[in-house]
């Protein structure tokens, strides 16, 4: 199995403060971590490799210091890492980001499965994973809680839904995004950490990818942030009491009548 994991370095939200005047994150002095959901993606890849063998390549796009995030995955046992870093990539929205990552994956060559976390805790869009699958024209399944089987060039997964889960089969290559139910991420090892510290991280710039320069970074990003604000807190609901369901229903009807809704 050739596995590709995509990760993002994000500010540690337990550390983050909000600037009350501009309603934006104060990023100075905030430590960076690997997006926690991406750690589940790495764990899922490691589990698949434990069972089927193969190779895991981990990719991130970000500033040069995002290299520490890649080293963290090396310590866990990831085989190879690639950092996409170039001023030209800066200011990318989810469209430009997924385009750039898709181009990097194409550059890698053959792959069987791409794994992403369900979303990044800073942007919370959950768009980059599916976006990559669209750019590469491969199937994708989001919110995967369990990989049940990989056989005959197919993958069987559970997709978490609000009520339970769907069982979905997909041909490979495919892309999945995973949720935390796939299992606790493992701890690094000492040998892995030593290796990770010494490893040299491959960096690719715009020149290394066959890209249309108009489609990356700020110029490839149609999304515009109009305003950032804290949503108003809605008042809590009211719980209609009653000794039995019938009485509760009766009380509800009379409350609705009182409010002239009925």
């Amino acid at each position: 199995m050739n596995l590709v994991v995509l990760i993002k370095q994000v500010p540690d939200t337990t550390d983050v403060k909000i600037d009350r005047n501009t309603n934006t994150l104060i990023r100075e002095g905030v430590s960076s971590i690997v997006n926690p959901f991406d750690m589940y993606a790495v764990e899922q890849a490691l589990q698949i490799r434990d069972e089927h063998g193969g190779k895991i390549t981990c990719i991130t796009m970000g500033p040069p210091q995002a290299e520490t995030a890649l080293r963290e995955t090396l310590a866990l046992g990831v085989d190879e890492t690639i950092l996409l870093s170039d001023r030209a990539f800066a200011g990318a929205d989810t469209l430009a980001t997924s385009y750039t990552l898709a181009k990097a994956i194409s550059e890698l060559g053959e792959f069987d499965l791409i794994i992403c976390g369900k979303q990044a805790i800073d942007g919370d869009t959950a768009q980059v994973g599916p976006g990559i699958a669209e750019h590469l024209d491969i199937p994708h399944v989001t919110y995967v809680s369990k990989v049940e089987e990989i056989a005959n060039r197919h993958i069987h997964v559970r997709r978490m839904t609000e009520e339970g889960y769907d069982v979905i089969a997909s041909s490979l290559p495919a892309l999945i995004t995973v949720v935390k139910e796939i299992g606790e991420p493992r701890m690094p090892s000492i040998r892995g950490t030593i290796k990770a510290r010494k490893a040299s991280i491959t960096t690719w710039t715009a020149k290394d990818l066959k890209i249309n320069e108009e489609m990356v970074g700020l110029s490839g990003s149609p999304t515009q942030v109009m305003r950032i604000f804290a949503p108003e807190i809605r008042p809590g609901g009211e719980i209609i009491e009653g000794d039995s369901p019938a009485e509760k229903a009766k009380n509800l009807i009379s409350r609705l009548k009182e409010s002239h809704i009925l």
């Binding site: 493992r186 701890m187 690094p188 090892s189 000492i190 040998r191 950490t193 030593i194 510290r197």
Partner: protein, 385 residues
């Protein structure tokens, strides 16, 4: 304090600390309450290479020594001393093989100990032989290509859970210490069984159990060093592992100080955070100072041992004595700072105080440590006369 650790030592300390904080601390109370051996946590330690730190590279280890082992034990003990002792007892069982085993024995047993796929244990104590370890009654007799062991060992840490046991038996009780011999006994050897599992005050999720030998046939190739060397092997081993007990004490104390200091900044009485009362502040100051003094001593003794110094009994006993007394004092004070809450099981310092006590008892009580130190001091004085 900055102890100028090497990069590898820093990695070992950080990773052990991360495991302690993220994996062990959240479950310490649960394992303590259940008095259940923490196998899930031991597996994590194994997968992270922590059992390998003190084992030479040629036997599957990372090539560190007593110092690296102490770093791990200290960090784990901040979160749970029971997990830490289960880890440390494997080194206690493994050191005799590493120090006195043949290359063949080391090749056979050390890689599994280093990977953590098997735990080791060390069996000296018996019902009538505690401090007086020269008085053991478990016998070994030679019979062609094997030895036959008979008797009962008591309070063996990792008993029942470990696969590899270093067992000290006597081949001639008349001869006392000189009649004692050490063997490697594997779990599953016919005639080797486990008895009573103790219910303890502290380190409750660690296993403390009886080993029962009834005509247990141990192959002659499992003899450690030579017949009659058992007592020496036990003493040399304890010289190397006592800094580990000391590191455990430092870790417990540090864990208790961290909790107490945090609590002092949140608990309000008389309209003030209790940490603003000088009485509390001074307690915290003494606790921190004592811990740092203990840590400095432990690290220095560990360095000295790893540097190859041969005369280590006195220093090793000092580290164990001082650090364990500090742990007892500091954990008591931590409970005091928490007041009534500290006495409740809902807060972690209650367990830390119970756990601290054992560090003054096992691997030689602190009275025995004082005897070791005292007789060395007297011997030195006589030599200088």
């Amino acid at each position: 304090m900055n102890y100028f650790l090497t990069e590898e030592q820093q990695i070992i300390k950080e990773l052990s600390g991360k495991i302690a904080d993220e994996k062990i601390a959240p479950r310490a109370a649960e394992f303590d309450e259940a008095e259940e051996f923490p196998w899930d946590l031991i597996k994590i330690l194994a997968e992270s290479d922590l059992f390998a730190v003190w084992v030479p590279e040629e036997y599957g280890g990372l090539g560190g020594g007593v110092f690296e082992q102490c770093l791990v034990v200290e960090e784990l003990s901040r979160a749970c001393a029971a997990v830490a002792v289960s880890y440390a007892a494997s080194a206690l069982g493994g050191f005799p093989i590493l120090l006195f085993g043949t290359d063949e024995q080391k090749q056979k047993f050390m890689p599994d100990i280093a990977s953590g796929s098997k735990l080791a244990a060390f069996a000296l104590t018996e019902p009538d032989a505690g401090s007086d370890a020269g008085n053991i009654r478990t016998t070994a007799t030679r019979n062609e290509d094997h030895y036959v062991l008979n008797g009962t060992k008591q309070w063996i840490t990792n008993g029942g859970e470990a696969d590899i046991y270093t067992v000290i038996a006597t081949m001639n009780p008349e001869k006392g210490p000189r009649g004692m011999t050490a063997f490697i006994v594997e779990k599953g050897t016919p005639g080797f069984d486990f008895g009573k599992k103790e219910k303890k005050m502290g380190i409750r999720s660690s296993s403390t159990r009886e080993l029962i030998f009834k005509d247990c046939k141990v192959p002659a190739c499992n003899l450690l060093d030579r017949e009659g060397k058992g007592f020496l092997i036990a003493m040399r081993t304890l010289d190397r592992t006592r800094p580990g007990v000391a590191a455990q004490a430092v870790g417990i104390a540090q864990g208790a100080l961290d909790k107490a200091a945090e609590y002092a900044t949140t608990r309000v009485q008389f309209g003030k955070k209790i940490g603003e009362f000088q009485a509390i502040e001074h307690m915290l100051a003494d606790m921190a100072t004592q811990i740092e003094a203990a840590r400095s001593l432990v690290y220095n003794v560990a360095w000295m041992i790893d540097a190859g110094e041969r005369n280590i009994s006195k220093a090793s006993a000092m580290a164990k004595l001082f650090a364990s007394d500090v742990a007892m004092k500091v954990t008591c004070d931590a409970v005091q700072i928490f007041g009534g809450y500290g006495y409740m099981r809902d807060y972690p310092v209650e367990k830390m105080m119970r756990d601290a006590k054992i560090t003054q008892i096992y691997e030689g009580t602190n009275q025995i440590q004082r005897s070791i130190i005292g007789s060395a001091v007297v011997k030195e004085a006589l030599r200088h006369k």
